[in-house]
Structure formats: C-alpha cells, structure tokens
C-alpha cells in the first residue's frame, strides 16, 4: 500500500479480523471490540500523515489500537494500574523457585489440549487468566502468539528495547498465565 491518503475501507478489509480479534481478547465484549475497530481505523485515517512506513500497516494499526485499549481501561477499570507491570512477577518467581533456582512447587498434569480446546468453560477461564495479566504482558502474548507479529514488530509496538527483553517478558508472561490456569482450572477437580 503506497497511496498518499489512507484508505480505511481497505484497512478494514485487510486487517479488520486481526484488529477485532486483538480487541476481543483484551476487552471481551463484541460491541466494544467493534467500536474499537472503528475508532482505530478512524484515528489511523486522521493520523495517516504520521505513518512513516517504517513498520507494516498492520503493526501500525495494532499500535493505535493498543492505545485505544489502554485508554479504555484507564477510563473504566477501577484497578489501580501499576507503573511497573512486571512488579509482582518477582513474587511468583520467589513462590516457584528456591534460592538455587529449582522448582519448589509441584506442577499438575494437564493432559492433552485436545480435550480442553472444545470445552467452553475452559475457554472462559483461559480468557479470565489472560485478562488478569498486566496489560503489557497480555498485549505481548496476544500479539506474538495469536497474531504472530515478529519479535521486531512486537518490540516496536510495545516499546520494548531489545529482543532479549522481549524473550524475558514472554517467559514471565507464560509463567504467570500457566500459574493462573493451573489454579483456576486444573487444580479445581
């Protein structure tokens, strides 16, 4: 796409699904996700002059939506937002490993994904755990794992400086998500 004026209709056709999916995973509401797609495309159209072509259009649009989602949570969430999203990750690390870095917790056998993948209740828990992650972590996990953005694109959108930091953040995110799923789902039987 090299046109000088932005084309929201074309963006909607090409990236509507990706934007909607991302919004749905974060806000869990169809009407809200729809609004966000619309607002994102409108904002993109208005600020198209600032798009420098250094990232793909998809990455640029996702970056705009990321801010819309943050704004939404600022307005409507009563949870106080921690400045350091990775703050209580230290607690989880201390809970999980001893001083030598060996596991001090037992992990439950989860079985195979095939069973859970069709279980509506499991998905509800999965979404809840995803929603509980600090915003940066949720964004990172969704954009990298679901949308398949490259490491470089993720760094750009999330303002992470190096791919090494990205890898550490992803590892911590997985540790957290795993812990939540284990407690909320697998340890319930």
């Amino acid at each position: 796409m090299t046109q000088l004026t932005g084309d929201p209709a074309a963006w909607l056709a090409d990236y509507g699904d990706a934007l909607y999916r991302y919004a749905m995973l974060r806000v869990r509401s169809e009407p809200l996700a729809e609004d966000m797609v619309q607002e994102t495309l409108l904002a993109a159209w208005q600020s198209f002059a600032q798009f420098n072509g250094q990232s793909s259009v998809k990455t640029w649009l996702i970056g705009i939506m990321k801010h819309k989602i943050i704004d939404h949570f600022r307005k409507y969430s009563h949870e106080t937002e921690s400045l350091d999203d990775f703050e209580d990750t230290d607690e989880l690390l201390a809970h999980s490993f001893d001083a030598d870095g060996h596991w001090k917790i037992k992990l439950i056998d989860w079985g195979t994904p095939d069973k859970s993948i069709n279980d509506e209740q499991f998905w509800q828990v999965f979404y809840r755990c995803l929603a509980r992650l600090p915003q940066n972590m949720a964004d990172l996990f969704i954009l990298r794992t679901v949308e398949g953005l490259s490491s470089e694109e993720c760094c750009k959108v999330l303002a992470i400086e190096t791919t090494n930091q990205l890898c550490v953040a992803l590892s911590r995110t997985r540790l957290k998500l795993r812990q939540c799923l284990e407690i909320q789902w697998f340890d319930q039987g």
């Binding site: 909607y20 159209w45 490993f97 037992k106 990298r144 490491s151």
Partner: protein
C-alpha cells in the same frame, strides 16, 4: 547444570526461535532428569496450541459489524480526501 528457573526461560525462548545447539543440548540433559521441567514444557506447548491454533484464530469480525463500521467510516471520512 542449568537451574529450573533458567530452563523456563530457555523453554520459552525455544518457542520463539531455534536455539544454538549447546543450549538445546543443555536443555535436553536437564529434561532427562527433571520431571517438573518436562511438565512445564508440556504446559507451554499446551498454551501455545490453545491460542495459536485454537479459538484465538476463530474470532473473525462478524459480517454485520464489518458493514456497520464500513458505513460509519464512509460517513466520517467523506469529502476529506
């Protein structure tokens, strides 16, 4: 030998990129003797499969919503370009 904590990072990294062989070798050795890390690895693959292949992808923008957005955008961006 690698610590389990370090293993969780390497296991996560190995989902992102192909690690150099010394790291892969060290992981292999650790996994041979550590049942908890073997389980952790299975949990990571589980989560990856759920999101990358499962429901994550199956959430397209509904056609009705797409049309509504299209109309609103057309209304708001009309005459500007």
């Amino acid at each position: 030998m690698l610590s389990c904590k370090k293993m969780t990072d390497l296991l996560s990294d190995s989902l992102e990129t192909r690690l150099p062989w010394p790291k892969r070798w060290a992981m292999k050795l650790h996994l041979m003797v550590c049942v908890t890390c073997r389980r952790y690895r299975r949990h990571l693959l589980f989560m990856q499969k759920m999101l990358a292949g499962g429901r994550g992808k199956a959430m397209p923008l509904p056609e009705a919503a797409r049309l509504r957005i299209k109309e609103k955008l057309a209304g708001k961006t009309k005459g500007w370009d």
